[in-house]
């Protein structure tokens, strides 16, 4: 792989490579445009159970059950989904389960829909209040390193970790149809 193709590596591929490195076996998600490529990669992987959820809070239970059974899990959600999880996060804290969440941010940059702003603007603070370590990523080239560090924190320390993928990183939503 030459330098050009390396920088062209899509950031979802970098996250997926980290999932493989740390042995993620279950991935829970509510379908999301920002996560669409990562979801595709997980669905195609025969070693990963992809679990499509009706609401993000279901994912917290999934992560706990996976950990009880000896498997590592990750959750993919939009910032709005974090709000759906708040009470269920108590499961992580009460029992000391590891949890890795990749959050695609909405409502913070070039947002078309003002209804995304109230939750998007309190997502990181809410996660911190719930006991999560949070790491923000702004640049595609930083995704690999930050997600790698986040995985290690979550699974070496049985800690709840959220990586926030900024709206600038994901790109403007195109509304021309």
């Amino acid at each position: 792989m030459d330098d050009t193709s390396k920088t062209a590596l899509h950031w979802p591929d970098a996250i997926y490579a980290q999932f493989r490195r740390v042995g993620i076996r279950q991935v829970g998600y509510v379908p999301d445009a920002g996560h669409s490529r990562l979801i595709e990669l997980c669905v195609k992987d025969p070693d990963i159970y992809d679990v499509v959820l009706t609401s993000e809070e279901e994912g917290v239970g999934l992560v706990a059950g996976a950990a009880l059974g000896g498997q590592r899990a990750a959750l993919l959600m939009q910032s709005s989904g974090v709000g759906n999880c708040i009470n269920m996060f108590s499961l992580l804290k009460n029992c000391g389960f590891p949890c890795l969440i990749l959050v695609t941010m909405r409502g913070e940059f070039a947002e078309f829909n003002p209804w995304q702003v109230p939750m998007g603007s309190i997502t990181e603070a809410s996660l911190k209040l719930c006991g999560f370590l949070t790491y923000r990523v702004e640049e595609p080239d930083d995704v690999d390193d930050v997600v790698s560090g986040g995985c290690d924190m979550a699974f070496n320390g049985n800690l709840p970790v959220a990586v926030l993928l900024s709206q600038r990183l994901i790109g403007r939503k195109v509304w021309n149809k």
Binding site: Y49, V51, V52, G65, A66, A67, L68, G69, N94, G96
Partner: protein
């Protein structure tokens, strides 16, 4: 109508390697009343999450049977998870809802099942492979067979009396409940691998 303690006691007789997740409130006390067991994951909160914990566990432990034993109020709060489980079709997962048609912990206010909401019908509409209503002790053997051998996901709605039962409280320390569950499961796997 069933006596909840008698029903759960019979259901968990000779439980073999069964993994049990109990929903908060009375189902947790019912499971504890059968005698403490390290492969019980007692919930004291996370209302609406019991079935999903069961799903994560069932996927991670395909060679084991997983029983989620919960109440009607807890199951109603996690109704969406029945659709999620239906999509995933875990063959080793059975959900038994102890249905007293009331919220027992908060003063016996009527629940949706009291008004006729049918959880078996919901589960079947969510692609569960089987579902049944039981209301007599004569059916407990069949339910136990489903728990140990049925091709899941299966949901059983067990109509129990709403009579008050004495509380039997297991430890509330989630770290302890988790750690001993995982240690025991891990030890079983190590023994199986080395034999």
């Amino acid at each position: 109508m069933l006596d909840r303690r008698e029903f759960v006691q019979e259901l968990l007789v000779d439980r073999k390697g069964l993994l049990v997740v109990s929903g908060l409130g009375s189902p947790t006390y019912d499971v504890a009343a059968c005698g403490d067991h390290p492969l019980n994951f007692y919930l004291w909160g996370a209302m609406g999450g019991a079935a999903m914990i069961g799903l994560g566990l069932a996927l991670a432990q395909p060679a084991r049977r997983v029983l989620v034993l919960t109440g009607d109020g807890e199951a109603l709060m996690g109704l969406g998870s029945l659709a999620t489980i239906g999509v995933k079709q875990p063959g080793n997962l059975v959900v038994v809802v102890l249905d007293n048609q009331h919220y027992g912990e908060t003063g016996m206010q009527p629940s949706h099942t009291r008004a006729g909401v049918d959880l078996v019908a919901v589960a079947k509409a969510c692609k569960f492979t089987d579902g049944l209503h039981v209301s007599e002790m004569g059916a407990v053997g069949r339910v136990r067979d489903l728990v140990h051998e049925g091709g899941g996901p299966i949901l059983v709605q067990a109509r129990i009396s709403s009579d008050d039962t004495p509380r039997v409280l297991p430890t509330r320390d989630g770290h302890v409940i988790k750690a001993r569950f995982m240690e025991t499961l891990n030890a079983c796997e190590t023994i199986q691998t080395s034999s």
